[in-house]
């Protein structure tokens, strides 16, 4: 009985953790690699979720339709970054406080637009596999968690390979360290940052579709995720893409165990506790390079 509870807590934790990783992946690029504190990222994800519900209502599969939507988000991310860099970064030193204020404001604007467009009610998707489960011995995995959870390892692997083996990926890993190193290499650092921010935004379209399969969401669902997303990125180690998956799962499993054996009321505090512990004892995170 206790073993069954443990096994189910762990499997649910792993699945939830994968979804946390998918949510945080864009932040691992914009905050972890570009050092832009984009607290609006979870709201980007919620926007992706609402876009998926619109197309789902027309009969499209939310995950499949999120792929073309990712291209739209990429373009929007580039446009948004251009705006951000013109207004803030070009004024000499980029000021973190100003950037936080901007992204906070952007979150509120997007939430307001979503409420005006869709109302404050919860929205969900209609897919065949919701309600069914995969049963492996004592472990029961609902498809509404399992399918979106599988999105995370696919996205993490694709992004990791892209950053590791493509020329643009090498430049993205270098740009936060030293823009001038890119300039003298004949690479436009401004273009590389726009491109990377576009990729971060594109991941939000796919993670949003995954999130809305898990359960119904409302326009304010991003607020719950801000702290958790930052906790994942910092626990992973700034800029570590595979670390994002490990950190997400670690947080997810811990939350599930606290929920199963302690009190579910404590679960939301888990991510922040782990965030604070990481900053206090191992600021470079699990997989971050020592700085």
């Amino acid at each position: 009985m206790i073993l069954e509870l443990l096994a189910n807590a762990i499997s649910t934790g792993v699945l939830l953790g994968c979804i946390y990783a998918a949510l945080a992946l864009g932040l691992a690029v914009s905050f972890g690699l570009l050092h832009i504190p984009n607290i609006a990222h979870p709201v980007f994800v919620v926007t992706g979720a609402f876009a998926a519900t619109v197309f789902n209502a027309m009969g499209f599969d939310p995950l499949l339709v999120s792929l073309p939507l990712a291209l739209v988000f990429y373009g929007a991310g580039i446009a948004f970054f251009e705006f951000y860099s013109r207004i803030y970064e070009k004024r000499g030193e980029s000021d973190t406080m100003q950037a936080l204020t901007l992204f906070f404001g952007v979150s509120l604007v997007i939430e307001t637009v979503l409420v005006m467009q869709f109302g404050a009610d919860q929205r969900s998707t209609d897919v065949d596999y919701v309600g069914q489960s995969l049963t492996l011995g004592p472990v029961v995995m609902p498809y509404r968690l399992l399918i979106p959870a599988l999105v995370a390892p696919v996205m993490v692997t694709a992004l990791w390979l892209y950053l590791k083996y493509t020329y643009a990926g090498i430049a993205i890993r270098a740009v936060a360290h030293d823009e001038r190193a890119l300039s003298v290499s004949g690479i436009d650092p401004g273009w590389i940052k726009r491109h990377a921010f576009g990729i971060a935004a594109a991941t939000a379209a796919i993670s949003g579709a995954a999130l809305v399969i898990v359960g119904p969401i409302d326009p304010f669902a991003g607020r719950m995720q801000i702290g958790r997303a930052f906790a994942v990125v910092i626990l992973a180690g700034m800029g570590s893409i595979p670390g994002t998956l490990a950190a997400g799962i670690l947080i997810g499993v811990t939350e599930a165990l606290v929920g199963a054996f302690g009190s579910p009321s404590w679960a939301p505090a888990v991510a922040f506790t782990m965030l604070l512990a990481t900053l206090a004892f191992k600021p470079s995170g699990l997989f971050g390079a020592a700085r």
């Binding site: 430049a171 270098a174 030293d178 190193a181 890119l182 300039s183 290499s185 004949g186 690479i187 650092p189």
Partner: protein, 245 residues
């Protein structure tokens, strides 16, 4: 004539004017040294050529194969793409990338991309040390090794003119000798066109075909090997501020 030409350049930082009416040229195949002690405007001149400092007057142009490209006011990466590669002061490598990744970063710019594999092979042939250490992170190498990597990185940009800013800074004297040897070897074998700023002037002048001496933001002397051996005593007089006529 193929050349990099700098005409009547004035530049500075805010209200401070550093360069006053600087005119120099670097012809194809030449190794030109820019000499001067610290604070006389060598780095400012090179940074202006590279677009990192905006000039207040004058122009920088690359006249090559019948084309004349005005580089004045272009962004640094655009100037590199026109064929001016730089080995910057302090090297500006990415310490968290490997040797190969640092080279590929520069090689993947539009100018170097078509021949990226050949250029990488050439760099590894020229600097076997880099080939042995190709997977090592640039930040973990010694200063001399990093300097050679910075030179190789500039070669990956397929340069018309190679600009080198103070390659000896922060290196042990014996390593400085090795770096100069490598640069001189490159110049001889590849007939590279080089403009190099340096304050350890005797070593620089022994490998250069021509030299300009800078003082207080002006060119005060031009020395040409074609006029006979460059006289060390004369350079010392010029550089120590005893401005000869």
């Amino acid at each position: 004539m193929n050349r990099l030409v700098i005409e009547g350049l004035h530049a500075g930082y805010g209200a401070v004017t550093v360069l006053r009416d600087v005119s120099i040229e670097v012809r194809e195949g030449e190794f030109v040294a820019l000499l001067g002690t610290n604070g006389n405007g060598k780095s400012t001149l090179l940074n202006t050529v590279l677009g990192l400092v905006k000039p207040t007057a004058g122009r920088v142009a690359l006249e090559w194969d019948g084309r004349s490209v005005d580089l004045t006011g272009l962004a640094p990466h655009a100037i590199v793409r026109e064929g001016i590669a730089i080995v910057p002061e302090g090297r500006r490598l990415v310490p968290t990338l490997s040797v190969t990744e640092n080279l590929l970063l520069a090689g993947s710019s539009p100018r170097g991309r078509p021949a990226i594999d050949d250029n990488l092979a050439y760099c590894f042939d020229t600097f076997p040390m880099l080939k042995e250490r190709r997977a090592q992170l640039a930040g973990t190498m010694s200063g001399g090794q990093q300097q050679l990597l910075a030179i190789a990185r500039a070669l990956m940009c397929a340069p018309t003119v190679l600009v080198i800013d103070e390659p000896s800074v922060g290196l042990a004297p014996i390593v400085v000798g090795q770096v100069f040897e490598a640069i001189a070897h490159l110049q001889e074998t590849a007939r590279l066109t080089i403009l190099m700023a340096e304050q350890s002037f005797f070593q620089a002048v022994d490998v250069a075909s021509r030299a300009y001496v800078m003082s207080h933001g002006r060119i005060i002397r031009t020395l040409d090997r074609a006029d006979g051996a460059i006289d060390h005593a004369e350079i010392r007089r010029a550089m120590m501020g005893v401005a000869a006529a």
